[in-house]
Symmetry: C2
């Protein structure tokens, strides 16, 4: 379940309070391991997901990540010009992001092979939106300005990010990650042409860079990415993450058996009742039909206001109703 | 151009200030006419779009619409329960929304046949989101709660809204509107099954209700609606509004010649330069290719921060590069 560790669990809130800050949790491998394992003690999830943040790479590039309570992530030194882009480098993973790979090793050790561990990264385009805007945005004014007025600088930035993401994910594999997900949270705000040029192209590069790792599935997820499902599947990735707007049956028809499908329940349903959750789980399972290749999941992250009992109902419904 | 009258024009801001409030502009037919015509004096638009608000129907139902500076629309009496839904009725258009149909008549008279006038309404689902949430939302917690926990009440609400929208649009036709657009701004936040049941179904009803009006094209627009283009085209509407995430060439392949296509430039491009605007207009025109059936437009509304000179560049680019 996306964001399966987190603020909906009281035991997470307790450890988060103790740690003092969100980044203290992410940068301490023992705490990151504890938080990764918390939901697995409560629920029969079929995989563990590394607890971390998508903005670790820009932070390692020196942008100065910090979190402002109630406002989300901010960068002290956003990227606004060609010279800003020129000034940043692909970070040395071992010295700047060793806390992430250490967390992967500790989690693998503690999991004792019980379930596989999924690592992840943000997509280059999604990371660039935060780096250029300096914070979360709904408008994407600065990054779309760069895209249309100075595409060369944006390509230079995305190229550095793609190399960084490839090295970062390779380091996660080397530390023990058994599957990888690339989150392209903001690819869906682009025009179809811009998506291909500024988001999909760089995710394809990463998939190619990692393709020599046998048996490490790569999952690509673009929120609001339904216009491009065929093209995402053509990158050579192993699974597609689907948000809830696309029918999983339609997605299957469009991409065939080339990739597995992960998704696609609206996380809002977790806010309702066990009965409504069961109905929706059944609807999605029926839409997918028989056969392998479905990783049941939410279509995006769980939100902090969810009752843990409803997560239990969700996991029970998926397990009891799945035919394989 | 969607929201072609509005805050990006200094002459609009002047008249808005004079009127005292946004609703004073909407409810005064002479002022609504003046504001509708302002952009046509500056630019060679091929159609006029009625200046109004999508929330006039809920206001006519007695929910108490008001606008809070910097926060957008609010309702004093939102719809939260089955009894709230039961208590509202389809409004009598002549007595509650006569200011809109009067504006249509005045605008038609002032336009003197120069360009056609497009009327519009929000879709039932989109209106319901504001009525239940009581304001704008990015989360849709209350309405999705109603959808999954008490779908019967939501259907009752949507049914009243569909009847109201049909009567409202018929009244606009009777007053002189020559084409109609139904804006489903928030259909794209639904799961594919929920979209069909709670948004598309009611838009189809409205299209059927209005189908006896010969020569009045109906345009349906669902933002982030790319999963459902074929089904939207199958409602019997005459044109599809497209946001920028779907390629207009892909859309044409998917729906054939059944409907015209309206769109689909990212409004963010208006923030850049005349050169970038020309390039993007050409890209979209080339993607559409030869043949009739393309209404060039933005993929969503223009924002208040756009330089009027860039709108001029946009209109010039569309006219100079169009082959028909």
């Amino acid at each position: 379940m996306m964001r399966q560790a987190g603020r909906y669990l009281p035991e997470y809130r307790a450890i988060r309070k103790e740690a003092g800050s969100f980044m203290n949790l992410c940068t301490n491998p023992e705490l990151a391991c504890e938080v990764t394992l918390q939901p697995l003690r409560r629920y029969e999830f079929d995989a563990a997901i590394l607890f971390s943040d998508i903005l670790t790479i820009p932070d390692a590039m020196g942008l100065g990540l910090h979190f402002v309570e109630g406002e989300g992530p901010k960068f002290e030194r956003p990227i606004r010009s060609k010279s800003d882009v020129a000034a940043i480098s692909v970070p040395d993973i071992a010295s700047t992001l060793g806390y992430v790979t250490d967390a992967v090793s500790v989690i693998r050790r503690e999991l004792k092979g019980q379930v596989p561990l999924i690592g992840f990264s943000g997509s280059p385009w999604t990371l660039a939106t935060y780096m250029v805007e300096g914070q979360s945005t709904r408008e994407f004014r600065l990054i779309k300005g760069m895209l249309y007025d100075d595409p060369e600088s944006l390509h230079m930035l995305l190229d550095k990010l793609a190399t960084s993401v490839s090295q970062y994910l390779q380091a996660q594999i080397d530390a023990g990650a058994q599957a990888l997900q690339i989150f392209d949270t903001w690819g869906g705000v682009l025009s179809d042409a811009a998506y291909r040029e500024f988001s999909l192209f760089y995710m394809s590069k990463i998939v190619a860079d990692l393709s020599h790792n046998k048996d490490i599935p790569i999952i690509l997820f673009t929120k609001n990415g339904s216009p491009w499902l065929e093209e995402i599947a053509d990158t050579g990735c192993n699974a597609l993450g689907l948000d809830w707007s696309v029918g999983i049956d339609d997605a299957r028809r469009r991409v065939g058996d080339k990739v597995a499908l992960q998704g696609n329940m609206d996380p809002a349903i977790l806010r309702t009742s066990p009965t409504a959750i069961e109905t929706e789980v059944k609807r999605i399972l029926d839409a997918f039909g028989d056969g392998p290749g479905h990783v049941f999941n939410l279509g995006h992250g769980i939100t902090p206001d969810i009752d843990p009992e409803n997560v239990a109902a969700f996991v029970r419904a998926v397990h009891s109703q799945s035919v394989n």
